[in-house]
Amino acid sequence: MHNMPVDDRHQLYARPPIVEAVFELRFASPVSENRSQRACDRLAKEYTKSSVKKLADVKVDFNTQQATFVNTHTNFQLSSSDLADIYAVSANSMLWARRAPYEGWEKFSSKFGAELPQVMKVLGDPQIARIGLRYVNRIDVRLDNELAHYEDFLKFRIQHDDILDPATSFQWTLVKEFTDTGLKVLVQSASVEPEIPGYAAFSFDIDVFCDSNPPSKAIDILLRVKEMRVLKNKIFEAGITDKAREYYS
């Protein structure tokens, strides 16, 4: 399996540990509420539920002990009936998300690939300031004598002396800029609340983004996000062990 191209190998996971995959675009300047509403209306037939929420920044003046709500704007969200497929748009950004069970890149990218040109037009072809592709993986590790050997699953980890073994919990973040491609990555891992009896859990969160001269045309954005996905897969494959591969294949 190791000799296969990363892209092909990545397709083989029958039960990928992806909790959520997100494709997000941030606008260089806010779009109007009217346009956001229309973008949501444009895609409404593709989803079964819709919801509207008000978003606000809160400004606190500690001297006068006053809090005020500023920059209130509206977040329009569409979702499938199982809440696995999401489209959300607000003044500053829009995103497509797929929650578990993840059904593969083809399905996810086909969905946002078909919907992106439609909403970009309705939004007035806004200038894009940032493109993000984020995959939040959750890896459940069976407890062995009350210990979770996460090193059996994750190759990226904190090196420390035995004096800290066994650690109760951990958290790390790595940031890297790939100057050749102009892509940046924010990779995080942490122990998270366990959900299954007899298991511990940790996250492996890979966020690939482009915030320097990102394209603003739908066709170019989709090409860019393809490159981002290749990098994301390389990082995932480099970060997990064969044992993890077996577990999710």
């Binding site: 039960r15 990928p16 540990p17 992806i18 909790v19 959520e20 997100v22 997000e24 539920k49 919801s51 929420k53 008000k54 978003l55 606000a56 920044d57 809160v58 400004k59 606190v60 709500f69 209130t72 977040n75 009936s81 199982d82 809440l83 696995a84 999401i86 959300a88 950004s93 995103l95 998300a97 929650r99 578990a100 069970p101 993000g132 592709l133 984020r134 939040v136 959750r138 459940d140 109760t168 919990s169 958290q171 973040t173 940031v175 940046k184 924010l186 995080q188 942490a190 122990s191 998270v192 609340e193 366990p194 959900e195 299954i196 009896p197 007899g198 996250s203 966020d207 983004f209 999710y248």
Partner: protein
């Protein structure tokens, strides 16, 4: 290595909370670096906040949607351990139990902790057979498995516990046995009554 630059991560729809430290940290005079995700719950001056109407003031449809959303979103955390058909069936049963047209104002929406207990039991005990579900007045889920005249009824409680009732017809007459157990022990305590006849597909 450079100091960690401040990059805003891409948005996720439901950020997972990092496991809370079991110990309070010693205070420092000027925090140098604090990961946003380990901040204490409560106010943060640089975050966006959703302004929602209190749940009780929303329409019945919205209250039901919110209750189901919590359950369905939580399921995404463990969906890779759940058979896709089981997940589909659970969601469809939840939808039926929360049908707005049948909803009475006195009914309570599903208790998320009870739902979690049910799903954890399915995963932990590899339960293949799908139960029928009902909603208790408390919001707890009541699951029932039938095998001919032998009936197992389980109320899934908060805190990974289950209250169970076995109804059986023996050669000596009808029998009823009940108990409350930690979720992990469900198969063990039901073993004398042949738990596999309810849990395992043949």
């Amino acid at each position: 290595m450079q100091a960690l630059p401040i990059f805003e991560p891409s948005e996720v729809t439901k950020p997972e909370r990092v496991q809370a430290l079991r110990f309070e940290k010693t205070s420092d005079s000027v925090p140098v670096l604090e990961f946003p995700r380990v901040r204490k719950e409560g106010f943060s001056p640089w975050q966006n906040y959703f302004i929602d109407q209190p749940l009780k003031d929303r329409s019945v449809e919205e209250q039901l949607f919110a209750a189901l959303a919590d359950a369905k979103i939580w399921t995404s955390k463990i969906a890779m351990h759940l058979d896709p058909d089981t997940r589909k069936r659970l969601f469809s049963q939840l939808d039926v139990l929360h049908d707005a047209e049948e909803w009475d104002a006195r009914d309570k929406v599903v208790n998320l902790e009870s739902y979690k207990s049910l799903v954890r039991a399915i995963i932990h005990h590899s339960i293949d057979c799908r139960p029928s579900l009902a909603l208790m007045p408390s919001g707890n889920l009541l699951a029932q498995w039938k095998d001919n005249q032998a009936i197992l009824t389980v109320e899934f409680l908060t805190g990974n516990r289950a209250r169970w009732l076995v109804q059986n017809h023996t050669a000596d007459g009808p029998e009823r046995v009940s108990g409350t157990s930690p979720l992990e022990r469900l198969r063990i305590v039901l073993a004398p009554y042949s738990a596999e006849r309810w849990f395992d597909a043949r």
